[in-house]
Structures are given as structure tokens and as C-alpha cells.
């Protein structure tokens, strides 16, 4: 079943890339980064939402599966956030000739990345029982999630050079973007699913040793 979703996601992403670069090309040419940047941005944020829901669910129900989902979401989110930042920086270099500048968009994506990375470090460096670690990571997940809207608001205090006025000139473009977004979301979902499964099996494997 997973294979189907994986294939679907990859097909969508390939289609999005092909469409975006041929039928829906944007001028000037570097703006086509949009086709990978925006989907990853949505994906990274969605992963955070998954992290939050899983964290809350873990605190309420105390069932380990939610802890695994949260950890998986953090990992996938880190990958997506890294891609987000990398494409953002590449775009920034191509468009304004600077690799990075404190613009609202770039600051928010940088913070998102940092939040993910700190979550992962917390997960690996906290001593104590796994249950305690899971609880604390869940707490951090919730606090970190509160940070995301906070940074979007506080970034309003920085002048914005980021927004090239983008309007869809043809329906091919919006299709390409849409495909990219859905494809990335599906891919992220599959990845989280895979990772959660991996965590669950590792746990089962380790516990069989003590049988």
C-alpha cells in the first residue's frame, strides 16, 4: 500500500517539475525555484502540525505510537526545512545576490529549521527513561509550535524584500504548483509513516531481546 503512495508522490513531483519548467516557465528563470520552494514550505509546516498533534496526543493518551509519530515528523520536518532553507538561500542569491538576509520569510524558515533540530537534539541527549524523554519532547513540541505564529508576527517588524508579486499567468503554472504541493505532502506522509514503522519495529526488536 505504501508503495502506491510513494509512487504516486514521485509521479506527482516529476510531473510538477516537468510542467513547471516547460509549460509553466516563469521569467526570470530563477523564479522557477518557487515550484520546489513553496511545496517544501507547506510540507515543513504540515510536519510541524503533525508533530504538535502527536505530542498532544501522547500527553493525553500516553500511548507510545504517538511519540514515534512525533519523532518521525520531526525527522521528516528537518529534511523538508533544510530543503526549504537551502532553496530559499539559492533563490535569494539568484534574485538579490546575497545568500541570506534577515527578511521575514527567511527568518521564519530559519527558525523552523532550528526548532526541528533542537527537538532532535533533545530527543537524543535527554537522559532518563524513554517515557520521560518522550514526555519532555512532547512538551517541547507544544512550546515550539507556539513559536511558529509568534515568529510570523514578529517578522512583521522587518521590512520585506521578499515578495516578488507573483500572480499566475497560466493555469499550467497553478497546476504545476498544486501538483508539487500535493506531491510533497503525500511524500512527507509516506516518509513519516515509514519512519514511524521503523521506530516501532526497532522498539519491538529491542524488547524481544528481554523476553
Amino acid at each position: 500500500m505504501r508503495r502506491w503512495f510513494m509512487a504516486l508522490a514521485i509521479v506527482m513531483l516529476m510531473l510538477s517539475t516537468w510542467l513547471g519548467l516547460t509549460k509553466g516557465q516563469i521569467v526570470p528563470v530563477q523564479r522557477n525555484i518557487l515550484y520546489v520552494h513553496v511545496p517544501n514550505s507547506i510540507g515543513a509546516l504540515l510536519c510541524f502540525a503533525v508533530l504538535l498533534v502527536a505530542s498532544v496526543a501522547y500527553l493525553i493518551t500516553d500511548r507510545q505510537i504517538y511519540d514515534w509519530i512525533a519523532a518521525a515528523a520531526a525527522e521528516v520536518g528537518t529534511v523538508l526545512a533544510s530543503i526549504l532553507n537551502a532553496t530559499g538561500m539559492i533563490f535569494s542569491r539568484a534574485e538579490w545576490n546575497v545568500w541570506w538576509t534577515p527578511s521575514p520569510r527567511l527568518v521564519s524558515s530559519a527558525l523552523l529549521w532550528f526548532l526541528y533540530v533542537v527537538y532532535l537534539i533533545l530527543r537524543t541527549s535527554l537522559p532518563g527513561s524513554p517515557r520521560r524523554r518522550a514526555r519532555i519532547c512532547a512538551v517541547f513540541g507544544i512550546i515550539a509550535f507556539l513559536d511558529v505564529p509568534m515568529v510570523y508576527i514578529s517578522a512583521r517588524f522587518i521590512p520585506d524584500i521578499h515578495r516578488p508579486d507573483f500572480s499566475f499567468e497560466s493555469s499550467w503554472q497553478s497546476l504545476a504548483l498544486m501538483l508539487g504541493m500535493v506531491g510533497t505532502i503525500v511524500l512527507a506522509g509516506v516518509l513519516i509513516w515509514l519512519r514511524t514503522d521503523l521506530l516501532r519495529r526497532r522498539f519491538e526488536l529491542e524488547n524481544r531481546l528481554h523476553d
Binding site: M6, L13, T17, L21, V29, Q30, N32, I33, V36, H37, N40, V76, V79, S82, I83, A86, T87, I90, F91, R93, A94, L187, V190, L191, L194, R195, D197, L198, R201, R202, E204, L205, R208, D211
Partner: protein
Amino acid sequence: MFYLSLAFSLVWLCHLAYLLVLDRQLRQMARSMQARAETPLSSADK
């Protein structure tokens, strides 16, 4: 143009790499669980 191809290849590489890594880890995991299931239930460390 250079930047564009840089970006796209980066994205694709990352996505695919992560997918492949996870897939491989899962296969290994499945294999070791299989191996564990197939060893006889003699708790040898008694």
C-alpha cells in the same frame, strides 16, 4: 539558470535519498525480525 538546476537537483536528491535510506533500513529491520522469529524458542541465555 545554474541556481535553478542546483536547487532542483538538491531537492530531488534529498527526497530520494531519504526515501531510499528509510526503505533500506526497513528491509534490514524486517530481515532481522525474520531471523529472530526463525530461531527456535530455546531461551539460550537461561
